[in-house]
Symmetry: C2
Subunit: 161 residues, 2 copies
DNA sequence: CCAATAAAAGACATAAAAGTCTTTTATTGG
DNA sequence: CCAATAAAAGACTTTTATGTCTTTTATTGG
């Protein structure tokens, strides 16, 4: 199974659930860049698009944005492309989601909730809070660098079958 | 605090997260209809829209759809409106989500996952599975009838303050 | 320096979700 | 039966998300 195929497996779960296409593409791209970066290789948009099966121009835009926000590094010109500095490869899925969609997914109790519902929270309120926390923890624990390592191990395993 | 206000508290959590506006409005409307239905009152679209702070024509469309699918009952003409039969008031939030968005939110392991990832699931895969299950259970447990009962109790409590 | 390369920037296009309006159909009380 | 009422149905508009294209800017190897 291909790298892309494997990613699809994992994110098939998520995509209808929490993440926008933008976030989905961003995460796939970041993992791919991380893998290449570990080998000291910078990758161009075309290659990223092909490898992660994302629309070329769209992923370009997304990475542009992430680059401005410092989650990924880039260099123009020949031998240029996208890459991750040591520090960046330690960023979590949560960081990516935050960078793109803001932290609305995580900020739990907005305006109203602080007053009434926190004092006397309804049962469902608490359940949701828990789910949110679970999602946050999950995304926070999933570091791009770690993730790509694990993926590679699995891939190796899978390829031997 | 008003009924609408209270609902806002609860769904402020959810709306950026899982549910479309359509689902959000649907749930608010259903709870409102349930409360009225318990008193044997049928409610019109205008009243529902006002009470749940949803766009009138839009909630009309949504309830039309839910009505076709049997989740809510309706009657045309004077003294007509929407209401819930005993059976319908026992429907869960999960039922509503399913009726509108299909069960893509719950069907967990789609195509790819059955083969490779289930055999050797990646850590994140399992976490997501758990979150999904949590969400499903939460939505399945939340029955419209029960929910409106609880809300009413809270409302009474709040009003006495 | 210069030609080639690749990202950045900005404008544009398409699709999906959300929201609105008008006409039709069913039901009721008088 | 009839006029009023209210949902059903269908067409339409607006907004947001997604996706595409063109031009500009930075970098490199020769």
């Amino acid at each position: 199974m291909s790298f892309i195929g494997f990613l699809f497996f994992i994110f098939a779960f998520v995509k209808e659930m929490i993440f926008s296409k933008t976030v989905e593409y961003a995460i796939r791209a970041m993992i791919f860049i991380a893998q290449k970066s570990k080998k000291g290789i910078k990758v161009g948009i075309k290659e990223i698009a092909k490898a992660t099966d994302a629309p070329e121009y769209f992923i370009g835009k997304i990475l542009q944005d992430l680059s401005r926000k410092g989650l990924v590094q880039s260099l123009k010109g020949p031998t240029g492309g996208f890459y991750l500095e040591e520090e960046s490869s330690n960023c979590s899925l949560a960081d990516i989601v935050k960078a793109i969609d803001g932290n609305k997914l995580f900020t739990g109790c907005g305006l109203g909730l602080k007053s009434c519902s926190e004092i006397k929270p309804c049962p469902i309120h608490n359940e949701f809070k828990k789910v949110r926390e679970d999602i946050y923890n999950m995304l926070e624990d999933a570091r791009i660098g770690e993730f790509s390592k694990k993926l590679e191990k699995k891939l190796t395993f899978l390829r031997r079958k």
